[in-house]
Subunit: 123 residues, 2 copies
Amino acid sequence: MDPDALAKAFVEHYYSTFDSNRAALANLYQEGSMLSFEGQKIQGSSNIVAKLTSLPFQQCHHSITTVDCQPSGATSAMLVFVSGNLQLAGEQHALNFSQMFHLMPTQQGSYYVLNDIFRLNYA
Amino acid sequence: MDPDALAKAFVEHYYSTFDSNRAALANLYQEGSMLSFEGQKIQGSSNIVAKLTSLPFQQCHHSITTVDCQPSGATSAMLVFVSGNLQLAGEQHALNFSQMFHLMPTQQGSYYVLNDIFRLNYA
């Protein structure tokens, strides 16, 4: 699978999981994983998922505008950079966001998220 | 120097160089460096600087809104994630952008940019 297709597949999987069952994102992080969420730094799969599941909205829908990817130097690792918007249930306007993921290969031939940085983009 | 301070110092240096003398950015890239600029992939310091110096504006000013950083796994390497806006000379409205850099240590105790992904954020 070429890296761009892999990045797109990851992004679709990540946000569809986020929008349907946030707790299931735990499988995509490990203990060394880091999330920077609007400037707050969180480490470890369980802490990251605790943060994501505690966000003050129940239903949301991510729409992806762009996906860029590059090899990050480490074997098979990839940087994935996403822009898009986030529609919260009951809100009139969608929120623009940018997010980056550093994906590392697992021994099972899959990927996990080592680095995750999320920011809303205010106009 | 702590990573957050280092990331901020890099970001200030990068954009002040971009805004005053784009050609001098060549020193921050190496032959293995990659730039994704609005979806276009470019590799190598000279090609990257050729792209940046050929952008269809002469004067610009970057204003930084947020800087996030995380260690990327490789020794002393850092991921830096920036949001901000870009004012072009003669244009009424600034353009929002997001950009990420993967900084790798050099043998001289400095850093170079291995990965650079830039996107304008359209509202």
